[in-house]
Amino acid sequence: MESKVRVQFAKEWELRFLSHLDLVRTIERAVRRAALPVALSQGFNPQPRIAYASALAVGVSSDGEYLDIDLTHKVPASQVVSRLNSTLPRGLRVVEAVEVSPQAKSLTAQVNAACYLFRFSSVDDRRLQDSIGQLLQTAEVIVERETKNGRRQIDIRPLIYDLTTVAGDYQLKLLCATGSKGNLRPEEAVEQLDGATGLKAIHRQGLYVRDSAGKLQKPTELERLT
């Protein structure tokens, strides 16, 4: 494998109905149409080597999703952007691409934080602020989750890094854990709050790599070669 390119892309509002698998399928085909020299996996059923950071749920739009694509020949990152954007269906868009080291750690291993924005049909500012304050002061917040292994009790408080009200199109912003080492489902945080009803939209502003000091970095900032 000659080179690895890390791509930041957006799934816009009009395609929020796509599931993660739908997205994977769609990008795979766009890569073929763009005639990018993607490396194939070994074995009887060669698949294009494209790896994702974290699945984006159905109904959620995003500005900051990431994938790594292995190429057999070097292609300038700017070309990866333009060639993909010229063929992606409306509603999917490459924001940025950078070349990273072929030995770069996988996105799933590194990405551990996500920032979500929420829009409600009705918000009582005072009550919401109070409710946020209360939640952040609580030591333990137990929710019940349906997982593959049945119902489990999970403390989600340590998964919530920051929660604030915002102005504009959205009213609430959440920074939380995502990934294999701890994953918060955005609705779980919202369910704990008072003062906001009629959830209309969830938007993932971005995925990040968060260090122990709480510093956030975009996955494309790490390991970039240029």
Binding site: L15, F17, S19, D22, Q47, V58, T87, R90
Partner: protein
Amino acid sequence: MDKRIEEFLLEVSKPTRYMGRELNAVYKDWDQTNVRVALAFPDVYEVAMANLGLKILYHIINKREDALAERVFAPWVDMEEKLREKELPLTSLESGQPLKIFDILGFSLQYEMGFTNVLNMLDLAGIPRWQSERRAGDPLVIAGGPCVFNVEPLADFFDFVVLGEAEEVMHQVIDLVADGKQKGTSREELLEFAARIPGVYVPSFYRPEYDQRGVFSGLEPVNPAAPRRVKKRVVADLDQVEYPDKFVVPYMDVVHDRAMVEVLRGCTRGCRFCQAGMIYRPVREKSPETLKRQIDELLASTGYGEVSLTSLSSGDYSCIAQLLQELAAVYEERGIALSLPSLRVDSFSVSLADQIQKTKRTGLTFAPEAGTQRLRDVINKNVREEDLLEAAEAAFSAGWHQIKLYFMIGLPTETYEDLDGIAALAHKVLDIGRRYRPKNGRRPNVTVSAASFVPKSHTPFQWVAQDPPDVLRQKQEYLAQRLRRPGITYNFHDVDTSFLEAVLARGDRRLAAVLSKAVDLGCRFDAWYEHFSFARWQQAFSTLGVDPSEYTGARRLDQPLPWDHLDPGVSRDYLRREWERAQAQVVTGDCRFTSCAQCDLCGAFGVSNVLVERRAADGEQS
């Protein structure tokens, strides 16, 4: 998509069924486009999107400046509930416009179990169900596809139907509608013009007659514009006819999600149970140059990773081995897989196996259809046991470990000995697979799928009775016991569904009221096991006083048949002769390779088989 649906789309399962917004979907200016056609498939998105016919029409119609085509499929039960609850009409995927404002609403009728969905979609669209109730301003509700060769159970619901291949006749239909709009032609007059287009059947211009016992006794044209018999349309040259260079690419996982290229149309093997083989003649192959060009165009415009070379029997394509070799050379290193649908046992060989295995390997499917040579001769499936075992040998030695075998039970003259034959074949094939286990490293699996025979119109078996349901069940149980072995998987179909299919397949217009009642009782998605309700159907039959088993029984050779006026090209003489040969266990050859079987199509239609190799011999290939 209709914006009102978007508001609650996240509340239904698989929202991408209704979203549209796919790559290569065509959005035209509604107000600037004269003729608007809604292409409807009476099943859900993930099934409908596999249909090649609608893809071809979508492309052809949208290429015209004066017309647009949009898609609409059956909403799943949860979406239907929401539409009814919120009183929203059925709308198209592209523009979200209600179906009832389109000029033409065209249904693709691929299988009888989709019939109730057709009526249900009309209801959801707010379009009068019965043809006689439609007025100016209602769309022309039409249909095409294999089931139109006996559309009689649905005849009272369609303004007209199109027999055969639609590529050319669709233009004539659109021209007619465009002209009619401009001149303000009345609906009745429009239908008269339509009846004069070759291949168009206007059911309301014919009146069925029944004898004292209520049995169909004939169909009379009652309008001078209506021909005695309607002849199907045939496209003579597949290299010249329009074929899409782009397909709409679905987001969701759909059936047969690959770039489909039709390698040939028609089949002259003459298997006596097979309606498709009878109605799609003659055989017309595309040249390898055309195929390669079409494959390249489709891969470039869709980004699919797999190409499917489709037809009724792709293994019969004249230069299949050479074509696969050339395609594999180009596509193998790009990681593009090639797939062929079910292969004839006698055209599958070691060399073919070699070619296919270079690319992706899934399971291989063969269709011996019957378990003994005797019965295979009766049905004219000219496949010998040695052929099947050699094919299995070639497959397993090339590395396959999964083989699927299609059979039918309930075939005419069948005895339990023939069922024993099915089991014996399955075991022999598995035994071969097991010999290769050390080499292949995986346990071999043989899947036996045994469908219940359904006699179809326009076949030599159109006079044959279907086995009664309890006999079929007994046979299924008998087979199940004999197939109990690790490594053998046995699939069978619900007998009641097969029974109903048989009723509709050889039905007449008396079934219209039954269908209508069945839909009112809640029948829909009959092809889906979890939604098929035989009890509701029985209620519909008994309420209307119709005995369904009348339709599944045998017919006399001299009896008028409800589909006699619809002409697929093969003559009734031929069908009768083939039925007699079946009973004498005499086989008939394939006119591509042996002599003419005198089905009388070529002379009557001015067409003939078009084969690639023969073209080269005639010097016509460029």
